[in-house]
Each structure stands twice: as structure tokens, then as C-alpha cells.
Amino acid sequence: MLDLRLTPAFLRRATALFLVVMLAFSLAACGGQKAEAPDESPGEPVVETSEVILASTTSTEDSGLFGEIIPAFEEAYPQYKVSVVAVGTGQALEIGRNKDADVLLVHAKSDEEEFVAEGYGIERRDVMYNDFIIVGPESDPAGIKGETDAKKAFEAIANGKHLFVSRGDDSGTHKREMSVWKAAGIEPAGDWYNSIGQGMGDTLQFASESEGYTLTDRGTYLSMKGKLDLVIAVEGDPLLLNQYGVIVVTDANNLEGGQAFADWVVSPEAQDVIAKFGVAEFGEPLFVPNAK
């Protein structure tokens, strides 16, 4: 027979025990990984690894490219472990200015050149490009499907006051959108123009749900295509080319590691990995390597 009067005391002890076990478990889990890491490749000499912080953009990370190129880099350079911090281009450059990252992979060429000119970065090199496209609902209320001039498409959207969703986050994509508006001589504002201040994926979701148009990089669109009710309306305008560059941060904390990554990503080996990325899944590459 259980003594019922003892039960609350027992429960309290059980709770205390549970909390202690939880704590021990989480500490062990955290400590365990560090201890286990070198055991993964028995036989090979244990290499002292240093962390390389790569600041990049959410659109690049969401495309899944890093899942391909970072393991390939770490295999070629086992002494480095890459940590990707994915933020907007504006924040990535700011992180670089504060030397909180060692190397940047971003896509806002004029800002990148300014960054290097101001002495924050050592050198900017082309890595690859993809292109921006204008996507919208199948019904195409602005009648821009098949248009190859991005400016004309934007004019049609603005004149008809068709819903347009803007990243509004100072990202490379947002900057490109603003430069197309500027080229078209339009100051976008009004009820039809939604600036949501979020990442590419969020923006595509928003456009899909609200049957609006948006400017997106092709990679993110292709990787999410199955979940969106959006079709490509405009593509192929040279204004919409999206060039990625790599920059090593001046006096970076892990300068050698940052330099090694930058040198590797423009090497023929890495360029080959980039060229093949996405072909199996989407039937076309998401990025075109163009390092010189």
C-alpha cells in the first residue's frame, strides 16, 4: 500500500531529481559534442580547427548552397570550420565593418566596392551570379507576363496600382528593386506598395498569399516554387543580373581562414561545385560561376 501522505514529498523529490537530470543531460550533451568531435575520423591525425565566420545573406543560405560548398571547403581545408551568419546584405556589411566576420559573400556590388574602398575589406572578387526575376500571380492583372524590360513591367504595376511586395530591408534584393524603380522614374508609394521588411522567403510567401508581384532572386523562387502560387512574369533583363562577390575583412580575427575561404571559392574546384548545385533538384543550376 502506498502511503498517500508521502506522495507530495515524493513528487517534490521527483521534480527536483528531474530538473537535475535535465541540467546534467543538457550539460553533458553540450560537453559531449566537443569531446566527440575529434573521434569522428579515427586514423587521421587530429587537426586543430579554427572557426571562420562567413557573413552572408539569408537568400544565399535559404537556397541551400552552403550545404554544398561549406562541406567541400572544410574537406579541402580541415583546419577550418565555417560558421555562416545569414543576415541582410546591409547587416552583413556592417558586421564586416565591426570585424565580427572574417569573410563576406554578398551581392550588392556598388556597396561592396565602397566597403573595400573605405578600407574595411581587402579585395572584392566575383564569385558567381544568378538573376532576379519579377514574379506574380498566374492571373497577371498587370499584364506583364513575357515582358523582358523590367522598367516597363514596374511602370505597368505602378500605373495600375497592382499590389507589389517589397523586401524593404535594405538587402541586396531590395536595393536592386529600388534601382529598377529609379531607372523607371517612379517613386513607389501608396496602398498598392507593401514594404514588409522581411527576408526573401517571407516576401515570396506574402506575395503568394496576397496575389501580389515581387522581385526575387531566381534561386529562392525555384527552391520554394512548389509552395507558392506565383509564376515568372519578367526575366532576362540585364538590369536584373545579380552578381555575388567575396571579400576578406581587413584585419579579420581569423584572417588566414577568411583568405583561405575566399581563395578557395574562386578556385576551379569550388566553381565546379557551384555550377552543379541545384541541377539535380530543379533541372537548372541556381548560380552561374564566373570567377576570373
Binding site: R5, T7, P8, A9, L11, R12, T15, F18, L19, M22, L23, S26, L27, A29, C30, Q33, I53, T58, E61, D62, S83, V84, V85, A86, V87, R97, N98, K99, D100, Q198, G199, M200, G201, D202, L204, Q205, S223, M224, K227, L228, N253
Partner: protein, 235 residues
């Protein structure tokens, strides 16, 4: 509806055949939450006791500041901690930005005011006469303090649970100072943000279900503890 089914299936699949990455996310989530709760208790309970049970100059200011601290958006705390820990910031020499420790520090700034404020309220509700009685029986100030905390323990436990809840569900601060680095600083909430951004609502919701289940289990135990204490008190 299909998203909900996918989420439940995905959450079960993640737990049963969870990858190393998945368990790492879980481990980091609870490492940060537990450390910041423990430090929050160590700092917040004495602060709460002072505010709730004693009188001193600046007490009201301290209470006002604590209540403000409970209302500061986590992302603002994240931004401030990020600026402190940045290599250009005053604590940059520590090289701590984008680490799990940086996340624990930021979350401690969230848990401490929460625990302090709620502890103060719990302690203040203990009748003053009880303390007078203890004093008349020859209790030292330490014994008196211990008695007050002991009498207010249900409220104090609730304060700790609230502190834990605030840090385990937080996303703004850990995103800013942790950077959501895969295999390193990714936690359940930042993984949820990322998966939703990619349109992977099923996976995203699955992470949410796991987070809710674990938190529910913990809070269930705490409620059980409170309930059993109440019953014990009545006997």
C-alpha cells in the same frame, strides 16, 4: 489542415530518427535556457527579496526599472548585447559574439528582471506579522529572510517558471547575438523562423510542437509541485 498533419508527422520523425543537427538544436536550446534561468535565479531572487520584503532608498526606482526590464523587447536586448560584444564594442576582446555563451548572456538579461519582479510580488504578499513573530522568537535576519522565501515558495517557483518560459520561447535576442549558425548557435525558435522563411511550414511547426511539448512537461511538473505543496500545507 495538411500542414498540421505534416507537422505532427515531421515532429515524430525528427524525434525518432533525429539527426545530429536536430539534437544539437535541442541541446543548445536547453543549454541556453537552463543557464540563463539559473543565473537569473541567482541574481533575480535576492533582488526580488530586497524589493519585496525590505525598505531602502531607491527601492521604488528599482521596482520601476525591473518592471521596465520585463517589458523590453528581446530584440532590443539582443541589439545592446550585440553592440557590447562586437569586436568594435567595449567587450569585443572577449570574441564572444555568435557563440552559445553570448546567447546565454543576452537571455539572462531577459530572465533576471522577470524572476526579480515576480519574486518581489510573491515575497511582498507574505504578512508582516509573520516576520514580527519570527523576530520575537529570536530569528536572525538571515533566518527571517529564509522563512519569507520559504513561505513565498509557490510564487517564487512561478517566477522561475516564468523566467524559464521567457528565455525558452525568445527569438529576437538569440537571433541577434547567436546568428542562427547551423550546428552551433541554432535553437528551436531561430530554426522556426528560418524554416518558415523558406516556406517549410510543416518542419517549422514540428519544431514548435517539440518546443511546446518539452515546455509543457516542465511546467506540468512545476504545477504538480505547487499543487502538492498546497495540499501538504492544508494537512
Amino acid at each position: 489542415m495538411s500542414v498540421l498533419v505534416e507537422a505532427v508527422v515531421t515532429s515524430v520523425r525528427l524525434v525518432l530518427q533525429g539527426s545530429e543537427e536536430f539534437w544539437n538544436v535541442i541541446a543548445v536550446t536547453f543549454e541556453v535556457a537552463i543557464i540563463s534561468t539559473i543565473v537569473g535565479v541567482l541574481l533575480g531572487t535576492p533582488m526580488g527579496f530586497l524589493m519585496g520584503a525590505t525598505r531602502f532608498r531607491g527601492r521604488r526606482t528599482m521596482i520601476a526599472l525591473t518592471n521596465t526590464g520585463m517589458a523590453i523587447p528581446p530584440v532590443v536586448i539582443g541589439l545592446l548585447v550585440m553592440m557590447m560584444l562586437s569586436r568594435k564594442g567595449p567587450l569585443g576582446f572577449l570574441g564572444m559574439l555568435y557563440t552559445v555563451n553570448a546567447m546565454s548572456v543576452a537571455q539572462t538579461f531577459i530572465s533576471t528582471p522577470m524572476i526579480a519582479g515576480l519574486t518581489a510580488a510573491a515575497v511582498a504578499s507574505i504578512p508582516y506579522k509573520l516576520r514580527l513573530q519570527a523576530r520575537s522568537l529570536g530569528a536572525s535576519p538571515w533566518q527571517e529572510a529564509l522563512l519569507v522565501i520559504k513561505e513565498a515558495r509557490l510564487g517564487v517557483v512561478a517566477a522561475v517558471a516564468a523566467g524559464f518560459g521567457a528565455v525558452v520561447r525568445g527569438v529576437g535576442a538569440v537571433m541577434m547575438v547567436g546568428g542562427n549558425i547551423e550546428g552551433k548557435t541554432r535553437v528551436l525558435t531561430t530554426a522556426i523562423v528560418q524554416e518558415s522563411r523558406k516556406g517549410e511550414f510543416g518542419t517549422s511547426l514540428a519544431y514548435g510542437i517539440i518546443l511546446m511539448t518539452v515546455t509543457f512537461g516542465l511546467n506540468g511538473l512545476i504545477t504538480w509541485y505547487q499543487h502538492s505543496s498546497e495540499r501538504l500545507g492544508r494537512v
